[in-house]
Symmetry: D4
Subunit: 147 residues, 8 copies
């Protein structure tokens, strides 16, 4: 059986790479998928359709172009990991978590202890809360390989 | 036809009251529903089931007790208003927005211009972005009463 | 049992009034619902949220504000009537028909013989094709009152 | 991951070929699917089941035979492109858009600026509006290949 | 709580009346709904939309007009009773049973012992098989009133 | 807003009455619904359809007649309480919990500490675990009345 | 793209073979699936679980064992062909048609002109009515191969 | 066509191996999937995320980590076998059965005659009740291979 894991959220640290490498080192056959993680490219996703004077509409167009990808990935994944860093608002990550919860897709949150309280609703709908990419890898290893 | 409007998000300003009063002043027959907005009561929602040593589990229990109400409200509403203030993480509001989007329920965001950029994914899935409770009332008035 | 009938499409003739009066004259207990039919009001639905320089974004905002109402009505109706007149593109009516078809809601088309060919896909998913409001009333009368 | 893209709408210009060639020139692994685009064959799709005296029933039969294919394609696609040309009613394209919207499938509209206004409801539910096949290819390239 | 019971199938005996009277005699608050049971009216349901030369299209039009009602009833009912008599093909009753099964709606079949074998697939998806209207009434009484 | 609460599980103690009385003493407007709780009546639910020699088929018929009611109640409830006592297998209660979980309906489990371990999967999908009917009443009070 | 076609209904003539051979002769890559068509094997499907004294329960057990296969096939197919012969009740075929209709799966009916009237509801929900296996093959050829 | 069969329930006897070997001996191409069956590993599934003082939370964490796998398997399977042994509460097996029933997935129960009565609700929603792994293999053989 193939497993598809959607990696959602923070784009400023290399947690995605750590999870992918960890999974690879265990020989796990996982298809990792992810939103665009190049911040500038993501913000400019809609620019190819013409420039905008208003910040709101520029953001709007880019967010929708990004959503083409993200909606498909959310529908296709078996499991998701939703990562919250210690900076920025990261409302898109919480939005993804809500979307996943409504679809009944199991997800794991990945965040520090310092932000337990503001994430309590997001964690309440999660299947696990991890604090390190290694823990996520261990959960994936257990989920996929344990007899 | 009765309309049920779910008011989600920020609990530190009186935006809910302003919308309710505005709707009432126009004679709109709206059933407004909302998560618990008493911050202390909300944080303590799970305490009646026994105290917890760990902050994580106290938050977890309370968030789940609150979710009993919130899941039902999200399913029952016709329209939602999701409010983001200028303080706090408010990930629960973004979570609600994602949940609503997945269910195909139309929602209006209510927030200042200053946070357009971090809310671009949440706004992209919304039907309207308002900056004042009065605008929300006008949208509801139009939606419900316009011939 | 109460019946809710959504009247979608053309806004330049009084077909909605004819159906409502016909239903009333037969004493049918139908809750008729409809998109905003005041053309100017509909085009200006988003203006209350601020003016736009670009025609595209003005239309976009208004169409989304109107969609708040229309999505709820489409979900709430039992039956729909989708009317195509002999002028204008009326893509919103065909869009509604596709949405209704995907939800499995039965709808009746109302249009002249002259436009059978371009409407063949819309008619193919309909439960009936009527050419006059009187016929629609007769179908509703049969549907609701026939023993 | 494989992507399936449904190309819906206008059949009188070669926009489908342009998109396919553009995708191929970028090495994108896309499975393009489409309704029957041979106009005569499409109109005659039901003739094999016997001839009809009435234009309505001939169209009806053909539209339904075509719907066998189109319903399956709409369900199978990840993304759709819905093209509106400057001629004809093209209600089938708007019908497809409504169907896609109800299923929550992201779609891109492809049309000229001249028809922004009548397409505002269709565009409001779209994830992007493109004016050239090249822009569509760029969106697909970004969606599928951007890191 | 109100219960809505859809009575589907045979129209040549008075089993519907027997069930309604039995329910009434027990004071059960049931909203009974039903397809049109006047055979001639049902066959002629589409005639108001114009006459047809071909039997197939006359039947087709009438069956679709009847489907407006039946689809709504199937969606609205809590429970259904599907009756098979000893005459005629009654494929519409079996069609209704399949539709109900796919929606997960519990239904009771009502038929004689003589047709157990051809009805085995329909019975296998049913919640009960009754041979008399009195038994159906007893099941409804138990379902609604038993403590 | 009206709330419908389904009380599932153990039938040998009066926990249902305690919850109903507690809710009433707080003036909560709750519509409590429940499977048949008269053990003998429940076991004999199918007997009206004829006696059976085999225990298996007698149980089968009765379980299906009971399912007519229970499926409707599970679909209609907003919230459920699933009670596990200290005796008997009570697989029907766990079955209900799984059904509720799949539908995304929030439920509260009610059981002693002694059976935490075997109920861990059922509790993991629950929104709260209560040990007394009074706690359930408090949760309902909070859910419905807290501002 | 692979197509899966479910062949449902009559088992006493070789229409399935004709369709398969026709498809093969055109080089169509279709995965044909079907209920068990060996009448005796089908009637005895449940016998391996123990014999039954009652005809009803023997049929019941066998019909349910067969349903394991049929439910999966109905869910997996893209298109179905539902065949009605001139003998027997064939309620299982009409049941399948209702199930397919509720799932929104396009199906083709295959039957003689003589039984148009009793099949009008089944045909009304179908996408095409064919009278010969050759016509079905032509529809499949058109659906899958036409440009 | 590939078949995926989910083996749920009892972990203290080798019934899973018997079914797998039986299927293999018949050359059936079945993808068998299963929850973690190593009791200690399953109980400790959440330990990698940190130790807990409370038994409840340790069980809770582990049950949720296990649910990541089990939810995906339940969604992916075509058919399930739910096994109840003669020891332990096995509420997780009944929970799985309820979840499967709500999704409309056909399942087979596997248990001794001695526990027919307490399993009557679980059996009522099943497609077959087997008492030996050999019978399950025979059902799978019939389901997959019978012409």
């Amino acid at each position: 059986m193939n497993w598809t894991v959607y990696l959602s959220g923070e784009i400023h640290t290399n947690w995605r790479e750590q999870i992918k490498q960890g999974a690879e080192s265990h020989g796990l056959a996982i298809n990792f998928i992810s939103a665009v993680t190049d911040h500038e490219a993501s913000d400019a996703a809609g620019d190819l359709l013409g420039s905008e004077d208003s910040n709101y509409w520029r953001d709007h167009k880019s967010a929708k172009v990004n959503a083409i990808r993200n909606r498909v990935l959310v529908e296709k994944c078996d499991i998701a990991v939703v990562r919250f860093g210690d900076k920025y608002k990261q409302w898109n990550a919480a939005f993804d978590a809500g979307y996943l919860a409504a679809l009944g897709k199991p997800y794991i949150t990945l965040h520090d202890e310092a932000i337990i309280h503001p994430l309590k609703e997001v964690d309440a709908a999660a299947m696990a809360w991890a604090t390190t990419p290694e823990q996520v890898v261990e959960i994936l290893l257990y989920t996929i390989s344990q007899k």
